[in-house]
Amino acid sequence: MSSADLAHGRDLAPQRAAAQKGDLAPERDGPRDTGLDDASLERWLARTWQTVPGIIGALSSVDHKIVARRYLITAFVFLCLGGLSAVAMRIQLSGPERGLIGPDRYNQLFTMHGVTMMFLFAVPIVQATGIYLVPLMVGTRNIAFPRLNAFSFWIYLSGGLFAWVSFALDMAPDVGWFSYVPLSGPEFGPGKRSDVWAQMITYTEVSSLAVAVATIVTVLKQRAPGMSLDKIPLYVWAMLVTSFVIVFAMPAVMITSTFLILDRLVGTHIFNPAEGGDVLLFQHLFWFFGHPEVYIIFLPATGMVSSIIAAFARRPVFGYLGMVLSLISVGFLSFGLWVHHMFATGLPKLGASFFTASSMLIAIPNGLQIFCWLATLWDGRPIIRTPLLFVFGFFFTFVAGGLTGVMLASVPLDLQVHDTYFVTAHFHYVLIGGSVFPLLGATYFWFPKITGRMMSERLGRWHFWLAFIGFNAAFFPMHIVGLWGMPRRVYTYPVELGWGNINLFITAGAVVLFLSFVLFTINLVYSASRGAPAGDNPWNAGTLEWATSSPPPSYNFARIPVVTHSEPLWAERDTLPVATGLRVDVRELVISTVAEAYPDVREKSATPSIWPLFAALAVGATFLYSIFSPWAVVWGAGPIAITLIGWFWPKGDPEDEE
């Protein structure tokens, strides 16, 4: 690619005229990286892109890696909380008629487990991984809208705290993570428990949506020069599709939870069957989000699997185009099958059969992905390391979960297994198998990039086998006990039904699974401080994140890479082609065109700011108050507006002015 290509058609004639008239401030210029030697370039960039030390600096940081790290750690803490609540439930269920936990607390526990795992762990952690990796993989210096990104973290953190503080106060939601009306409605859900659910969902989804928007724009507009659509890493494709799914699915749950809080708080009748509302409307709206939600969690995992498989099989993933198309079609199809969560509600038979067909249909793109990976592995000569072990675990469990999913898609069959432990087993196979195992693999895979140190392979293998055995021991028998008639969400069961032994076995499995996570935590903490130094590219992988140092500097890349191949580091073994000409005294990055990724504009990325935190606090306080009074919206509007103006008002930085 030559400079001539880049300049083609990129001029701004009218604007130049305006500048001459004085309507535009004259373009300022500063030092460029063109002639700088590596050391002084890095000095310049480090000073420009640094996160200011000190507490204010930390709170103002807009570095996508710092925000992502916070996200990852917070999500991990919520994972632990969710896991602990699961263990507590399993202990209660380890035998028939146990009195350890009463129904009231148990119902809060399983609700918190579901809410935490779905909204506070699974979605945030896949997004957090994306926040960290996507800018690196597309070769840019920061995520698009970095302040929005920081804002979303504060929102997420306070939303999660909000949920768990209310749990500590005995006011956690107790109606299940999908919180069906009328049980969660004004008449049958006394107190503030369902309000906490509703507002906490709306609130945390604001953060997911913000991150999704940032991710989309990063992928579409900030790719390194030359990274045309067919050269985007599969992981980035997965995050892009996921973000689109989020953009179209999350509003549904926000609408649902908003309708619910309206019903509860200001007496609307949207879900009141007596006054023209309908309780099934809630389910339609919720599952319009709820089913894509599964793919929001699963699609990024497929991206991780693709990355790991490519690195260990030592070849690009087989069938790139097929993989991308299957990602996109899964994204589309995920919106067409929400009704299969409602087969037992007595829908018209023909409509239900249609949804059987559409639910089965999604197995085809998923199958294509599986086949492509298998073909890739078949071709390669994989060396078994922990990340790949987890990918094998993923295959083992996810395929099983996918197949039980096919069973659930069948209307008549679903009528027997719906809302039983069979379903519990199924979605844990899909979510843990399909998402958590890849995530764990991804942790082992990218940990060296994030920390600069390798994780312990020995502990990793122990971790894998404990997790794998514990997981299957805990969840495989659930299929059986579900078919034996055990409904989900029961806090106890009678002796006569003979579910005692198998439940004891399940609990034992759950404990093993939990222990594996203890081991994982130890490995994380140990390796972060004592692990072997990793180097830039320990796995000798091909995508751009491995082109920079481990951990990456605040500016990611000293010079923006120019991409010629979908696995740039494999294509350019010795020297990486880079672009020059960016300013080093301000946060300048390259905006490129959507399809071809021609460099188009040198735009400035936002500087650190404390205002996103203030804005998050204002929004958080509004939401908290809104549980108690609808006037919160009125009282909260002022502070929110002020913080937002503070956020967007130019402070005289060059980044703001040009």
Partner: protein
């Protein structure tokens, strides 16, 4: 890893307008998600209407004049909006300032209508599900009006400060124009749903 310069970006402009700017794409993404919200709320309205033996429930259709006036105002505002857009693209400060003031006023005008319409509506939100959905739809759109007018207002003030002499600000004006189009575009289906669908029978 060693690096070799392969492209020189120094001649690239420092700001882009419209689809060339990431902000435009961010705005588009927000429109997509808000549009989904509108679509789902409208879907819920239609779903409940379909289930009901009659619609609206227990009241005559709402007086369409406030809605019609708002529609006319909004449609009329599209013209100055796009004139403003042209000036913003040309980075012409004085016309942009005038255009922003006009757009602020044109944004406030429908809000004034709404201010009188809400208390005069045919039904309250807590009367029945029809009332609830009516208020939800109207409220949703009013919220967008308010936020966009707020946005326009701040931008107007900004354009009168020294910060206004920046390509980015003109880009922001373009995005504001873009978003206003969205606010107008979402109104049309809601207008038909609220005022004319109940009169179809």
């Amino acid at each position: 890893m060693k690096q070799r310069p392969a492209a020189d970006l120094s001649k690239l402009p420092t700001f882009g307008i419209g689809p060339r700017s990431p902000t435009w794409w961010g705005t588009l993404a927000f429109m997509a998600l808000e549009g989904t919200g509108f679509a789902l709320a409208a879907g819920a309205y239609l779903y409940l209407a379909y289930l009901s033996p009659e619609w609206p429930l227990g009241v005559p259709p709402p007086n369409h004049w406030p809605g019609t006036i708002v529609t006319l105002l909004l449609l009329a505002s599209v013209v100055p909006n796009h004139i403003l857009n042209r000036y913003a693209e040309a980075c012409a400060m004085v016309p942009v300032r005038i255009g922003l003031i006009v757009m602020t006023l044109l944004g406030i005008a429908p809000l004034v209508v709404r201010w009188f319409e809400f208390p005069a509506l045919n039904i309250y939100w807590d009367t029945n599900a029809y009332g609830s959905m009516l208020w939800v739809l109207l409220g949703l759109h009013t919220t967008h009006l308010i936020t966009d007018v707020g946005d326009t207002l701040v931008l107007t003030v900004l354009m009168f400060t020294r910060h206004g002499y920046s390509g980015r600000r003109f880009g922001d004006v373009g995005d504001n124009v873009f978003y206003w189009d969205f606010v107008v575009a979402t109104w049309i289906p809601i207008y038909l749903l609220i005022y004319w669908m109940p009169r179809l029978d």
